[in-house]
Each structure stands twice: as structure tokens, then as C-alpha cells.
């Protein structure tokens, strides 16, 4: 099995646009149909399958990525709209050896079960802590209210984000 490039990004006879996106710090030049969703470019074109699709109405947030640092549901953005922008996916959240505090918090507080919402949930949480380093529980709940989870009942996610906030402020080691 491989996670190779599929035909969604290179297709004979279809109107294609060349775009340049920086994904997890790496500059990528790809040709895409204008209708291609960013989520599918990431998953199938660039083999970054950590970004998930859980709905078709922009409700669940499993596809959340950071576009220039802002959480965006990548199922509701065309790949061509990402031209010239910087995208961060879960694969670029921490380094392979060093996890982001949010990732570490999710593990320590058991904030994931099936793991399907986890990438989007962590990216939203990461962005929250960038703009609000010391959120209240209420603020965390509102911040992640665009991300659905079917497994955890949210409680441990809230704890994980608060743990990450404390870690980032030097409170825990």
C-alpha cells in the first residue's frame, strides 16, 4: 500500500490552475481543478491524510487546518483559494520527535478515542492558545464548538487544552 498521488490533481483535458501553497513549511507547486476542495488536495494530492472529512455541510470541523495560522475548515475552501498561503496540518503541528503541547495534552488527558476528530480539534486548540494563552474552561468550550467529537464527551479535550496552556506558560514540565 502507498499513499501516492492520485489523479485528482493531474487530469488530462480538465481546466487546471497552477497554485503554490506552503504546507507545513514546505513550498508545493501543484496543478488543480478550480473546484478541488483544499481538503482533497491535502489528503489525496499531497498524501497528508491526517486531515479528515466527517461531513458535507461544514459542520464537524474534522478537516480543520490552519491557513496563515487561522483555523479553517478545509472542506469549505477551494485549493485554488489557498494559492500563496501557508497551511499547517496535523502533520506539521509538532515535530516527529517533539510533540506540540496540545498533542501532549491530548495524550495525557485521554482527549481522544477513535482519533478521527483529533487532528482538527488539536489545530483549533492550538490556534486558540496562540491568541488566548490563558483561556477559561468556558472559552475553550466555545473555541472548539465548531469541532464535533462523537467519542469523548469533550471533557477531556477541555482538560487537554488547559493542560497545554499551562505547559506553554511554563506551569508544568
Amino acid at each position: 500500500m502507498s499513499y501516492g498521488q492520485s489523479s485528482v490533481v493531474r487530469e488530462v483535458g480538465v481546466d487546471e490552475r497552477r497554485i503554490t501553497v506552503t504546507v507545513n513549511g514546505e513550498k508545493r507547486v501543484v496543478e488543480v481543478e478550480p473546484r478541488l476542495l483544499l481538503a482533497h488536495l491535502l489528503r489525496e494530492g499531497l498524501a497528508l491524510t491526517g486531515t479528515h472529512l466527517g461531513c458535507d455541510t461544514t459542520s464537524c470541523g474534522a478537516c480543520t487546518v490552519l491557513v496563515d495560522g487561522t483555523p479553517v475548515k478545509s472542506c469549505t475552501m477551494l485549493a485554488v483559494q489557498a494559492d500563496g498561503h501557508e497551511i499547517t496540518t496535523v502533520e506539521g503541528l509538532g515535530t516527529p520527535s517533539e510533540l506540540d503541547p496540545v498533542q501532549e495534552g491530548f495524550s495525557r488527558e485521554h482527549a481522544l478515542q477513535c482519533g478521527f476528530c483529533t487532528p482538527g480539534m488539536m489545530l483549533t486548540s492550538h490556534a486558540l492558545l496562540e491568541s488566548n494563552p490563558d483561556p477559561s474552561e468556558e472559552e475553550v468550550r466555545w473555541a472548539i464548538s465548531g469541532n464535533l467529537c462523537r467519542c469523548t464527551g469533550y471533557q477531556n479535550i477541555v482538560k487537554a487544552v488547559l493542560w497545554a496552556a499551562e505547559k506553554k506558560s511554563g506551569g508544568v514540565s
Partner: protein
Amino acid sequence: MGHGSMLRKEDARFLRGRGRFVDDIQLPGMLHAAVLRSPYAHARIVSVDTSAAESHPLVRAVITGEMLADRGLAWMPTLSHDVQAVLATDKVRYQGQEVAFVVAENRYAARDALALIDVEYEPLTPVVDAQQALAPDAPLVRDEIDGRTDNHIFDWEAGDAAATDAVFAAAAHVSACDLLYPRVHPAPLETCGIVASSDAVSGKLTVYATAQAPHAHRAMYASIAGIPEQKIQIIAPDIGGGFGNKVGMYPAYLCAVVASVITGAPVKWTEDRSENLMTTSFARDYHMRGEIAATADGTILGLRVRVLADHGAFNGTAQPSKFPAGFFHTFTGSYDIPAAHCRVTGVYTNKAPGGVAYACSFRITEASYLVERMVDVLAHDLGLDPAAVRMGNLLRPEQFPYVCATGWEYDSGDYARALELALEMAGYDELRREQVAQRQAYEETGRGTVMGVGISFFTEAVGAGPRKMMDVFGFGMADGADLRVHPSGSAVLAVSCMSQGQGHETTFAQLVAEELGISPDDVEVVQGDTDRTPFGLGTYGSRSTPVSGAATVVVARKVRERARIVAAAMLEVAPADLEWTKGRFDVRGVPGVGVTIGEIARAAHSDLELPEGVEGHLDASCVYNPPNLTFPFGAYICVVDVDPGTGQVKVRRFVAVDDCGVRINPMIVEGQIHGGLADGIGMALMELIAFDGDGNHLGASFMDYLLPTAVECPSWELGTTVTPSPHHPIGAKGVGESATVGSPAAVVNAVLDAIGVRHADMPLTPAQVWRAVQGRPMRTDLAVSDGW
């Protein structure tokens, strides 16, 4: 060494986006499929023209019902001894039903081509309201079955009707109530999907699928398509939640297999959310009339229930085959009720099939909701406190093992202790005092909110099950475990259950670790691959810990006994002279003389001479046939604030005391409970699959099918008691579905307690609550025919 709140082994990949879910799989030459679906709930198919779709440059195949019929595959068997259309040939029977299957070079092209298929329909009147399904003039859903003249599927009963009727005739008090448990949907965040790859050279079919029961899927493919079983490999990779949605086979799976055979290429099909909600297994849809008989002081004497079960157009309910209404006859719940009887009637309607899903433990959600609502109705009618009524009727510890009026033998329980703990945690008496004061203030001013307290005390029955009583598709519900200990002392455990997030990779390693005294990090758990795991029936009904967990413990103990023989040979003593302490055998009475499991493993694979008949190695297999189910229980208390002016409900607190016997990993148990409690809030307040009078599905996306977010959920307050299962090897009971089973009644009881209304059906949306406050709640499942 083993049990305890260790962090999860599986997290490492999920945190880095390196889980491997079905839609992540990319095979060389893989094609993508899309399904053309019926816009009608009920219509005759006049013609299907696929020529334009076939001439699309990126389309590689278009499969119709007629093409499948030529191969004998237009219909497939269901888990309830019915058949289900794979692709419709004669007519469509629910909106969203599969009509054609398109395979193209990418997913966008496959979707494009759907619009090029021309289907001519002749609309028919649909059966939408289950309560009208048996009317003499009701349209016939299943006219393809010879001799069928109505929409009746089955009648099934349990308990003693005559004895129950006698109790009711003599009782001082009888309360009756009609209750609807509306149709909802498990809605796992990852939808259903498959990659089917048929190899023309080897004849081998490899299927990657969202399968909670991969071995059962293999058997189904073999039976339906006639492929030799050894030539079928099902691989369930990481699954993004199942909740019962991913137990059975769906039509598009079979289409993908056929498409792979036809095209000679791997075929991927991933449904979108609306397809998932419209066509895969729904849950509930039980129309119940409950009657409860009691003395004037609230001692329950009898329970009588009549159920109309809406099964949709095909009876595809996934449950042990001798139980057409699942385990609904656990409806006497946690109480010592001398007489009980239920009769369940299943009917066909023009809706998608399903019924058993969404953490229901085979209809125990419905049973538990029924009894916990009826106890509150009784308390309401008699003017008694619902906590006191429960406390007065709960089974006592000395009554276990307890055989209930419908025949279940409950294994163990200490109910009053759990309820007392929950009441204490909630500060029940103080809450009641606050409620009185608040209600008075509301009545004086007409402003503000009113508070309500709802209790639910449930008993689950999980771990199906004893093979003599329980089978699925003819397969007894015993499960296997294979354990291999490597020469270095690390181990691989292969099990037939299949995690969808419940943490089996961690907890099953903990079970082995506890029994063999090695680190859980040194135990690799294999699941989901039918070529690499022993046969078994998969994960649903909270059966993993009761069945596969037991198999794992037993197989580890078999290995330990083999290790004893090897150690005896190493130490040149009799096996009986050895004493096991975590991870080593020592010679009894000779301190310091012994060998560790690692040393034994090495020796077992070495040239050490072993006694006659001992073959060496430290490997073993086990098939565990459970002697009974396990019966976990819990006491839940929900506190809500309701605005009677708007009908808005805010869940202020939720106290949950669960007893699932011995907890392998308390952290994971608590996570399971958290998730199930959120389900309860969803079902009680938000979730609904409704239909209009034409059979149009009104909950087909997350815009309409509302799931709780972090904002609707409170911080859960959990409590624990431990009453081990006496028949389970480590005393553990299942727990995964407990909170989903137990919590909806607590939320509903709380809301109705707040507004002082005897009964209103779920979901208690602001509109429903507001109407209930006005004294006219409604059936919420039939939006249009009820005049919304």
C-alpha cells in the same frame, strides 16, 4: 504491572495524523465509486438509462440492479433472515436507496457521472407512519415477497402474560403512558467506506472496510458471492468510531467488490455524511405503551409493555438471531418486579433499514428508557419522590444472581450503594430545596428559569453471548484469542474483536501484562485482519471485555501454565512446587530460586529438554464461550435549568455512578462514559431522524441532525463502585454502552421534572419543551403529518 490508568498506546499515531483509516488507503490503479440514490421513498422503477454516464471519459463502469441480477447479486441476506436490495430492480423502498453504482478514475468524476444517469420512476404512496403500517389500506412495502399481503414482520413476546394480567387486575394503582423512542442515528464521525481489491491471478479478494465484525463480513462475502473463504481477507484498519453503525454489510460494499472484479482494479467507495444518515443503520424507532402496576405506596408489582417497532423497508436489524427485539426483555430494569410481559411487533415502512445501533446493547436503550420513564410517571401519579420510589424497589445485593420475570439471570449488583453515592454526590436533598424556592420565585414573577432533577438507574446486559442461546448469521457468539510469546519474552496477542476507539490496543495488552507479569509495552495487539486473527464476532454490544477480554485472560493463563512446566524443567523440580508471583516462578519455600517469564520464554524456544508431550514454545489459543452475559449498572442524576418562556434547556450538572466490576483501565472507562453521556444529551435534546408525509428524510445532514458540541455538554461528575462479575475470569463487565443506555432517561426526567409535565417525547428541543409547557407536546418523528 497490568491494570491501571496507563496512557494509550494507539495515541502516538493519531496525534500525528498517522492513523490509517479506510479513506486514507491508496492502492495502485485504484478507482473511485459513487452511488446513485432514489429521490423517492416509494416508487416503481420504469427504466434506467446509463449510456450517457458510460460515455463519460473518466468513467470505467456503471453497475445497475439488472447487471447484479444477472449474477444473482441484486439482493443480499440480512442479519435478521430477511433480504435487502443491493441495487434496486423492481422498485425503490426508501429515499436514498441505492439504484446504480458508478466507478470512475477519481471521486469528482464519479459524482459528475451520477447526473448523467436517467432513471424513470413511477411514484407510489409511501408508508411513513409506523402506526399506520398495519392499516388494511396501507401500501405494501414488500410486494416482491410471494404471498405477502401486509407490512407485518414479526410478533415476539417475553414474560408471563397471564400472571402479569392478573397482577394488573388486582393492583391498587396502575399508570400507563405512551412513549416514543424516536429514530436517531449513530453518526460516527467517519462514515462507512470500503476499498475492494480483487486479484484476478490469485483469485484473492482483499477488502479494507469500516467493519466492527470483520470475520462476520468475510463469512457474508463467502456466502453471498460464493468466493472461497480462504480467498477473502478483510482488513478493518483504524475506524473513526462505529457505535453500531459499522456492524453489518451495506449494499455499496458488495457493489465495490463486484466493481473490482469487473474492472480488475481496486475500487474505493466512501459515503458522504448525508448518505450515512439517510441509508445506513438507524437506531431506536420504538413506539411503546408502558403500563406499571403498584401499591399505593409505590411498590412496583408488574410491568406490561406493548411495542411497535419500525424496521424500515428491509429487516436488517443486527442482533442475535433468536432475538428479533434484541434484549428488550431486560425492561424490568433494576427492580424486583414479580410479573412482567412485553409484546413487540415489527413492521415495514418506506425508510432505511437498521434499528440496532448507537450503543444500544441490542435494544436495552429502549428497555431502560421505558422502565426509567415509567418509574417517574408512577412517582408523578402517586405524588412520590422518584429517588424514594427507586430506592424502595431496587434489587438487593443478596438477591444476586437474580432471575428476573422475563428470564435473565443478573450476575451481581449492589444497587442501593450506587444510588446512595449518586444522591450524595449530587446533593439531592439540597437540590430539591433549591427547586422549591426557584419554582416559587418563577411563579411569583413569571420570569427566569426552572430547575429539574432527573434520575435514571439502569442495568445493562452485555457480552453476547453463550453460544447455545446466541448466534449471528448462524455463528455462535464465542470469540477467540491467540497469544504468542516471543523468545525474548515480548508477546503478540491476536483477537477477534475490533476497536473503533475503545482502546483495545492498550487494555488488551494490559490484560496479558497483568497475567504474565510483562510490560504492556511489550505486548502487541493485533485486530481487524481476518488472515491474522482468530475467528470471532467483533466489537459491539459492549462485548469485547466480557468475551474477547475473557478469552485473552484465559489464553494468558494457559501460557502461564505452559511456562510453569518449562520452569519446572529448568529448575528440575515438580511443576506443583512452583509458585507464581508477577512475572516469575519460584520454588516454594526456597527464597531466591526461580526464573522470570523472559528466561522461561527463552528456554521454551531452546534445546531444553521438556517433559513427554510438551512441544515447546509459549503459545496458546483459546475460544471463550461465555457462561452468561455481564450486567453492569449505574445511577445517573441530571440537573437542568429550563426557560419555560423559550423552551431552552441547559444541562447544569450530570452525576454518573457506574459499576462495571473490575476496571482494567479506569482512564479509558471514564472516557467511554463521557462519550456515552454526551450521546444521552444528544438523544434527549437534539437528535432526530424525522420524515415528512411523502417519506422525505428530514435529518439528512449535520445542519438538521444536531449533535452536541462542547458547549451543550457540562463537566461530567463521575463516581465508581466495584461489584465484580462472578463468572468473568477477572470480574470485569462491559461498560462501553452503559452511559448511552442510561443517560437519556435522566435528561428527559430532569426536563419534565423542571416543567412539571408527566410525559413528552424526545428530542426535547426548545419547540417541544415550549409546547409541553403549554400542555400539548407532540410526536416529533412525523413533522409534517403532525402539522408543524
